[in-house]
Symmetry: C2
Subunit: 825 residues, 2 copies
């Protein structure tokens, strides 16, 4: 063929938006059940929502094309290292970098004297310094930062910095923190001890509730602290440009928080600072606040005029982490003989470590959601967080609710046993009803808790197994509920909690600008799916621009299980406005009313006669010719739900997810070793937007719960972390993970985008008590402290048998790996 | 001071938007004059517009922090080289890469057979292949592309590709192209020669006009072809991701055109292709269309799954360029004895080279704007573009109007001399009036031509010098006018020519999304200035996101002097909508009517009582709390101005700029060497948004005009470029550049953003004829062909003196450098 005869194209040619085949749906995972409160008429007609498909960003992730923060290399870049305290508590007498600065290749140094500002993620706890000025408060507390031409030189220079400490007594644990005769970690003239925060709340007639109870149960529990252990260690690159603008690439779940703190700490205008969150290799709450090394990198980039990278070592991540608080509980529950709860009094003591972090919120969270799962007519909560000379704790997946759920579900099983009730049936009987309010003023919308219990029990043949298996084998159930984002914007009143911009290109591509940060949870896909559903196009037609404070609207960030719900609602609103413009143009072209325009499969069509249709591209171009650039803005404000009492801002959420775990275990009565044979998890996700994503989140939550239930520990010796590394810190490998069966329950929440609720955190919470309850079923004895190790099992067995023969040193090893890897259900 | 006593901040703290001092204004350059048609009441109160300041992106540019396309390195990247024809015209018999592919490190190869699609930037000229299939048409025509692990291996592999040509006669020049007995470069059964495009237009009573003329002048002119010679050579990086999406980083002025062509050529959906234009190191029209190497890189990135970079060598840029067409003119003008023009007949012949490029538009442009500068009551235009076996020509700064302006202004001077009129006064007399229409249907709005003439003459003491200096010294004047963007969207009817999104962050930063590409002309700054003025903030508070087809609305690109005008209007509309939301919230807070809210200096205030004020940040936050994310969309459509005849789409513009150059020269009568002593350029820019930017554009235009006037040549020998390198191709260095004085004339155009018109191209056009006219004043003889070399001067001197003694070989050297560099006026 001659060139002159070939097909030709020009810029006038419309690219064909259909050239790429639609993203195929994968095999749907597990069961999808529907709870009765979901309106049936909303179920039909989705073309993206509800399908199971690979996340849109999984392709570049698994092919290694994504660049994480530590993959960023800028010309002339310096590498920074933080000098960290080697003592748990001391006055800082002297920090001398003279010798370090003399080392060839060292470019600059900064210490506490350079940044005389205290900051905090919460307005109530502004107690951190980028680098310590007069005191160090834990082993790992940042003291100084040094930057050099390469990482090894920076490390070598660290060794040359001379630090002189004047040691103070170590506050090593909660008991010491509550004493009045020890020094304060943070000066507080209003106290004589190391209490950070106390909360005392009472709702309903608590004393009367206990008075009318037939039985009262009182127990003590301990939930061990642990850490997020994300695969990606924290990393930051900061560049101070020739234009006086600071750009920070950072592995963060909350780019806009870092933006605000960086501006304030460095004294820069908001318009001069840009935070970019590259893909984040796991956050789990551990990357939700600004870290000292991030601010130090920015400071030294400005000081030197050269880009600065700081990537934490794994050991540093253990210090910096802000993981799960160790919490002690006293739990008192009054019940009628039929199990009806008459009152609960929950007391919690949190070991906060050396700084505030999100600890005030955590304190409230250990009490707030007690009432959202089961009917509690009267409730008293006392919370207390203390400072100790350990790395500060903060939010980890299930923030603040994971620990009390272990206590509550454990005791509930005990109550059922004591009253001769089946633990599952009992939970169904006292489950909260949809669309009710709790005694502490929380508004429940959709609730699929009973459906979760039924589905999990049916799937596991729970009724055939519970109490009916040989000694050593056990089955246990537990339930939980979780937030879909905090109902109050904690920080900036009246701002929308999420904003989104949706732009439609005449070539058929659609861009969504959202201030979220995808920390692996899948927010990129969820936003794409919501917008694709709204506009009737494919998820791969959509480009998500997120995690960039210059390019995206403010969003509080990826925490509190808020992104699909809140950013999703904002994106849906924006896409809906764009859809209206396109539908109007299509309606005019097709000669039908705009409300009769359907949009699906990259077509705009007459709902009554789908043969009357336009391609999405043609419709978008008509709309553009009529209205100009097709772009629209959406915002989401949560309803104002706080009840008004002090602390009432922690707990309210526009909606709550519900999760039920059934654990099946086989305990080796000789060694105490626990083999978790299977976890079945039913989760009320409202509306399932992508079954693969929901399943992934559930599996991740179960996996993390297993680690906390069985092995993760946070041991200190006089303030020194004993195992700050992944060799000694035991957590599950994939081979340790038992089969996990996921059951998705749909309830179509009225507040969520397309009815969706959260799936990222809730499923973790019931796993730990379900295992505890299964172990109790297996060994007829209860373990009141996590992790449930073989040693504790043996102790419990011995205690229940009255024998002391078994009180020998038992193996503390992790459970044996199953012989075959998990095969998806 | 103890840590506990330090000031503290939290995420609740508002960053202070005033922490960064406002960008200081530089010393204002030159004069800013105001033409009478500018309404006086619009002059006051600007706080950004009209100030002279450094471009917002100059800081990162001069500190070397910007990354151009060739600075991008991706992991696992391949380097590509194009195999180019070594013969000007041949049938391609065989392309065999067997030996090349066997070379270690060579990854892949592609040739014409791989991409069987013809494309073209204009719908009327789809005559290009990414790589030749059956014919090569010029030395440099792409035949194949090879990619290898490194650049040297790719170069080595090129040598191993075997190509067999079957030579065809070379069409070496226009005369040959017009012959009927030579082969056609592009098959065209409707013709027997190599004519590409003919245009024949007639407006008014042309014959009658000539009939009533007192004098008729007929002359022939030749304008030499030349090239853009941008500092940055063309470069592209293409990546085909694991998600099936193609990303192309490319030094392009028109990312959205490349997007469309790449989709069509590669058969991909618009949503799957993303074009990113990094900062462009000079375009001047040479980067306004998709190039073969860009499409080849994309194709081979997809074929190999690895990123591919292709950076052209300087020699390749000479082949790929699409520079200024060589044009021959016949110009016939009828005038009354007082100089009034009665009719013009302009004939042009363009040597287009081997492909169409924008040549159809160029053909019309050589005739379209003849009538926009002076009153022409009757006008006939005949244009003809031919194909020759040379690198294709296309648009270069002043696209198509630079060449006829040389002819028109040259002849006009001759007419003035013949009629005994002063050349400047004569131009004033026949200058078009503001707000009139031309005989060929072009609508003139503001026009500061007379003011430009007055200012340039006054500044140069023209009247004291013209015709009054010693032989050898001369002063000359010329005028021109230019488009502010094409009035018609050439490609996609009814789409807005520019779109913009403006987002206001609660921290005081503002982001503008615009599909423009900053090719050094300053569009980034202009958009920032327009939005900063609208919102009352500083230019450095603004982040411009441009040149990214995923992130930005469609914009036709950076050509036709359209960006400040069209994208500026879109950005102004978007910013105006955002301003309205903010002003409304501020008005409510301050208790005044919204129309009484002024915004300047990062404040929103009561215009009647400026002490009643809010910071911009506070006002923006109030607006956000009220309306949600503050973001708005703006679009610009040019008024529909085409008169309806064939070709009437080329020429109409929403507004025209006017420029007057006065050149002062000193010609060495012995050697013919011309020393340009000074260029004074007065430019009617409508409203000057940034005097530094306008001055820079004028200086750049003058600089480029000097090169074309004095030395740039495009010499071929039988189709082979004789000097495809910057050693032999003479163009000015900074030392060759004479003092340039800039005079900015403001006319406040009713269509432009804040009244602005273009400055990027117009100022080049009068420079060349002004020099020609100054030379004529100096030597009393006229040169009818560019460049005006010493050799031509000597010939003209000899011809005018009747002597032949001087017909010896004269030096062709560039003019001597001035002994001191230019000191800014």
């Amino acid at each position: 063929m001659k060139e002159e005869e070939l097909p030709h194209v020009s810029t006038a040619t419309n690219p064909d938006g259909d050239a790429r085949p639609p993203t195929p749906a994968a095999d749907a995972p597990s069961i999808v059940k529907r709870a009765p409160q979901m309106p049936a008429d909303k179920l039909e007609g989705f073309h993206v929502v509800g399908k199971a498909m690979a996340k849109t960003d999984s392709f570049t992730r698994v092919t290694g094309q994504d660049r994480f923060a530590d993959d960023i290399f800028l010309p002339n870049m310096l590498y920074g290292k933080m000098l960290r305290s080697t003592v748990p508590h001391a006055n800082l007498k002297r920090v001398d970098a003279t010798r370090a600065l003399a080392l060839p290749g060292v470019a600059a140094f900064a210490s506490g004297e350079d940044i005389l500002v205290r900051y905090g993620i919460l307005p109530s706890s502004p107690d951190e310094m980028v680098m310590a000025l007069d005191k160090v408060r834990y082993v790992g507390d940042p003291i100084a930062c040094i930057v050099a031409d390469d990482e090894l030189t920076a490390e070598e220079a660290l060794e040359l910095i001379e630090v002189e400490y004047d040691p103070l007594p170590t506050i090593a644990n909660m008991d010491q923190a509550l004493r009045d005769d020890l020094p304060q970690i943070h000066e507080n003239p209003r106290r004589t001890n190391n209490v950070h925060k106390e909360a005392h709340l009472e709702f309903g007639e608590v004393e009367a509730g206990f008075a009318k109870a037939d039985r009262i149960f009182e127990d003590e529990y301990f939930f061990e602290g642990n850490t997020h252990a994300p695969i990606e260690q924290h990393a930051v690159v900061a560049r101070y440009g020739g234009d006086g603008k600071l750009t920070i690439w950072c592995s963060t779940q909350t780019p806009h928080y870092l933006h605000r703190i960086a501006c304030a700490v460095l004294g820069m205008a908001g318009s001069q600072v840009r935070i970019i969150a590259p893909p984040v290799g796991g956050g789990f709450g551990g990357k939700t606040e600004p870290f000292a090394h991030e601010l130090a990198a920015a400071f030294l980039a400005r000081r030197t005029g050269r880009p600065v990278k700081i990537a934490l070592t794994r050991e540093e991540v253990f210090y910096a982490h802000r993981g799960r608080h160790p919490v002690k509980f006293k739990l008192k529950t009054g019940v009628k003989n039929d199990g009806t709860i008459t009152a609960i009094h929950l007391q919690s003591w949190l070991d906060g470590g050396a700084y505030g972090s999100y600890g005030v919120a955590t304190t409230y969270y250990t009490g707030a959601l007690t009432t959202v799962t089961y009917k509690v007519p009267a409730y008293k909560f006392d919370g207390c967080r203390v400072f100790t000379n350990k790395p500060p704790c903060g939010p980890k997946r299930g923030h603040g609710t994971t620990q009390p759920r272990f206590a509550l579900e454990n005791q509930l099983d005990k109550i059922a046993d004591a009253l001769g009730l089946d633990a599952a049936e009992y939970r169904k009987r006292i489950a909260v009803d949809p669309y009710t309010n709790t005694v502490n003023g929380l508004r429940v919308t959709s609730c699929g808790l009973r459906e979760c219990i039924d589905a999990a029990c049916e799937r596991t043949k729970y009724a055939d197994k519970r109490g009916k298996m040989r000694r050593g084998k056990g089955i246990g159930i537990a339930a939980s509920s979780y937030l879909c984002g905090a109902g109050l914007p904690i920080y900036w009143n009246d701002m929308p909690q999420s904003g989104a911009i949706v732009k439609v290109d005449r070539g058929g591509g659609v861009t969504v600008f959202a201030g979220t940060s995808d920390c692996g949870q899948g927010s990129t896909h969820m936003l794409a799916a919501i917008v694709a559903e709204t506009l009737g196009i494919d998820v791969m037609d959509i480009h998500i621009c997120s995690g960039d404070t210059d390019l995206t609207p403010v969003d509080l960030g990826s925490y509190s299980s808020r992104v699909t719900f809140m950013a999703g609602n904002a994106a849906r609103e924006a896409a809906g406005k764009a859809r209206a413009l396109i539908a109007q143009a299509a309606a005019e072209k097709l000669g039908v009313a705009p409300e009769r325009i359907g949009m699906a499969n990259r077509r705009a069509f007459d709902l009554d006669d789908p043969t009357k249709q336009l391609t999405f591209i043609d419709a978008a171009q008509l709309a553009e010719a009529k209205s100009g650039t097709i772009a629209a803005v959406g915002s989401y404000w949560a309803p104002k739900l706080a009840a008004g009492y002090k602390g009432s801002g922690v707990g309210p959420s526009p909606a709550y997810s519900y999760s039920v775990a059934v654990a099946e275990v086989d305990v080796d009565l000789e060694t105490g070793e626990i083999k978790v044979e299977k976890i079945t998890l039913a989760h009320d996700v409202g509306r399932c937007i992508n079954a693969d994503s929901v399943e992934g989140q559930i599996e991740g939550g179960v996996y993390m719960g297993l680690g906390e239930a069985l092995m993760e520990e946070w041991p200190f010796r006089a303030g020194e972390h004993k195992i700050p590394n992944l060799l000694d810190y035991k957590t599950l490998t994939s081979l340790d993970t038992p089969p996990i069966e996921t059951i998705i329950i749909e309830t179509d929440d009225r507040e969520g985008p397309f009815g969706a609720k959260e799936a990222g955190q809730g499923p973790l919470n019931p796993v730990i008590p379900a295992i505890a309850n299964a172990v109790a079923d297996a060994i007829k004895a209860r373990i009141h402290a996590t992790p449930i190790t073989a040693e504790k099992i043996l102790k419990a067995l011995d205690a229940s048998s009255g024998s002391t023969l078994r009180l020998r040193k038992a193996p503390v090893a992790a459970p044996k790996a199953p012989t075959t890897p998990r095969v998806p259900a």
